[in-house]
Symmetry: C2
Subunit: 442 residues, 2 copies
């Protein structure tokens, strides 16, 4: 006996039937429109890359999650892989920037909304195939670029209708400045930041312990840092602390410039300096940000400046910044999409006997040509009740009944599937009449 799982999609992947598919596509279309309005342009790269393009770019943990593709033909037996599914959209961007550099505008502002694949342990809300939604600016070190990424993401979230969200903004320079103010030796800095990044998950005491025992900071320094970053007046305390560090001052200036540039376009309650925002990835070099929303663990968007990364990934060394919408987390926040049942067609055309079939087909073609989604009954039953049930199951608003009587009279009967009301209309006017009625009732 076949198990009930036999026809499920592979673990961690999903099938999308019509209603869900269209809800997702609607969201993607909104995002695309916003990004295009900023002059970002689409880039589509293949689902797989040569294995060497991907390996060594995501750290040891990341490398383990890459789906590798077995060599083919006589080489299959080696058990070796030569290709791999893309793990993100950033490495393919770096490869494309290297491949098409001179053909691309400068700066190159690109967006990509596409699936990526990671062999993560599947779990609630965690998938092995999921869509990333990235926008990046390669080749500009201007603070206007950071601001543009932030504002474009803001507009996208706003256009999607995410009810409440807030940009948390910091700078890697501010973080390093804070460490400098506490005289943390340079070589302990990155490790200390990785631990400080856990302040949203661990208790302040636990973070202090880890800074001392795991990262080699003195207890006094560790306590001072954690106090600064968890105090209710953290913003003011950190601002004051950074006065003693040149790097810290530069970081604050980056944050302030971003806030200044976006002040006319992002409401003040939706954005703010957040000294304890760290971002795990160590490739960020300047402004960093995350977007949080009530009730959603983690962030719904994030990004920052990552000068140097494009070069490390194989491209020409270029300043760059970018951001990403966590679209799989955002979609569940957009509740309205699935409330109305999926209506496959607006108009259903019956087929009452073979003699009428060609005419039924013709009238359906005319209605479609008027832009109305129209289905013809494809079952084998000539029974009226059965065809009405089909029309109703399809979500049709109107039904065209065309039997021997109508054929004789050169008419069709239009039935309003909601009111049940029926009217006779000349055959040649059916399309126009239905187009008018559908426009009215939508």
């Amino acid at each position: 006996m076949a198990s009930s799982k036999q026809f499920d999609p592979a673990s961690g992947t999903r099938d999308f039937l019509a209603a869900e598919y269209e809800g997702r596509e609607r969201a993607f279309a909104i995002i695309r429109t916003v990004f295009a309005r900023y002059g970002f342009q689409p880039l589509q790269t293949p689902a797989f890359e040569r294995l060497d393009v991907l390996t060594g770019k995501y750290g040891d943990e990341g490398d383990k999650l890459i789906f590798k593709i077995l060599r083919r033909g006589e080489h299959e037996a080696t058990g070796e892989a030569d290709l791999a599914l893309r793990y993100d959209l950033t490495v393919p961007l770096a490869r494309a920037a290297a491949a098409y550099g001179s053909q691309l505008p400068s700066p190159y502002k690109r967006y990509a909304i596409a699936p990526v694949w990671r062999a993560d342990r599947p779990g609630k809300g965690r998938f092995r195939e999921f869509v990333q939604c990235d926008l990046d600016i390669v080749g500009s070190s201007s603070p206007l670029s950071d601001a543009e990424v932030v504002v474009a993401l803001h507009d996208a979230l706003d256009a999607l209708g995410v009810p409440e969200f807030r940009f948390l903004v910091n700078s890697r320079h501010a973080l390093f400045g804070l460490l400098e103010a506490y005289e943390v030796p340079d070589e302990l800095g990155s490790g200390a930041l990785i631990t400080l990044d856990k302040l949203d998950k661990l208790s302040p005491e636990a973070v202090v312990s880890e800074l001392v025992s795991g990262r080699g900071l003195s207890r006094k320094t560790a306590q001072g840092l954690v106090d600064d970053l968890t105090a209710p007046d953290s913003v003011e305390r950190v601002r004051a602390r950074l006065k003693s560090s040149e790097t810290g001052q530069a970081g604050l200036a980056e944050v302030d410039q971003l806030l200044e540039l976006t002040k006319d376009t992002i409401p003040a309650e939706r954005i703010g300096f957040t000294p304890n925002l760290v971002r795990g990835l160590d490739y960020y070099t300047g402004v960093i940000f995350e977007v949080v929303a009530p009730g959603v663990p983690g962030s719904i968007a994030s990004g920052g400046r990552y000068d140097g990364l494009i070069g490390r990934l194989g491209g020409k060394d270029s300043p760059a910044c970018g951001g990403s919408l966590g679209i799989e987390r955002i979609l569940p926040l957009l509740s309205q999409a699935e409330e109305t049942p999926y209506a496959q067609i607006e108009v259903a055309v019956t087929v009452m006997g073979e003699e009428q079939a060609t005419d039924s087909f013709r009238v359906a073609a005319e209605i479609r040509r008027a832009g109305v989604r129209t289905g013809v009954y494809l079952g084998s039953s000539g029974k009226f009740a059965k065809q009405m049930k089909w029309a109703s199951d399809q979500g049709a608003r109107f039904c065209v009944i065309y039997g021997a009587a109508e054929r004789e009279a050169g008419t069709v009967t239009l039935r309003d599937m909601v009111s049940g009301e029926q009217v006779q209309v000349p055959f040649d006017q059916a399309a126009e009449e239905l187009s008018r009625r559908c426009a009215q009732s939508s």
Copy 2:
């Protein structure tokens, strides 16, 4: 030194930059609109399936072309695969039909426009990642379904603007009837058809030889079959020949019913009975068709009825028919798409010094809110000429100049990038004015 190929996409795959990407997406959108108008609904399945879902479904040759995904973690060293990239959209349809059967409308009319992957030897116009564009009706044995598939494909080709094309229609029953009329033993039938399918590539003599030496037919039978199928009056000859075969009569009736049902919607010169159309795949059971276009080798669309396939592929045994647009072959026929250069933005906003940056940002936001694609200069140069060059390179129709003088006066300068003409507009009216001008000039 890096070789120039180092940054190319993997062999047989392609990157799509903005202009090409958007040309493709425009075509897909047209197709989607047509299919939806017929009440077909989208189904999206994952890029990969469990390996056992795919293997054994495409024949030995097909199985060799499946991209297999290596197991992960501790199992990677086994060199075994457990997943594979989808090879087509039909097997995933069969799996989904089995998984969601009762949730799906009946008949289930679905379309899918999505990439598939085949480890074919890459060549001119042959790719390892390419888009398939399928529509299928599962659960209806009505001839109306075959006709609907054909008409929907016709409308899609028409809507795409394919200048000239023709549907070649036949039925597997007509083919088997012809073999019956020539008293070819049943067990030689399928082999004989595979050879007859080569009439478009080999000479009639070569096909006769192969039928005799390779397929075990008598020379007289082989010659008779080839004469019937290559004669200028082939249609009439085959119609006459099929009189002696019940199967053949049934096949002719299928073809004639399709031609009758589509006569009001497909111009007569675009469709016709084609006795020598065979279609290689042996899963077809009824009407079969291909669409040919001048100058394109092979077909640009094809399909037919395949009543047992869904069951064989793992689904509930259901009647089914469908068709597919060879979209990678069709796209090059649609010439107009790439003639106009890709314009990234409509309006370019200059940034003349840091003091003006926030205001430049604000005016850009207002113009975007009016629906106009707008870019802000993100370079580091304050030089006017450099910013004008950027605006021009981006394809901007208008440029907003906002320097110290404009700031003082509360205005912006609008420059028409074609005529070079400049006008002063109050800052707050810039967005409205540009929205008006862009609408006029487009």
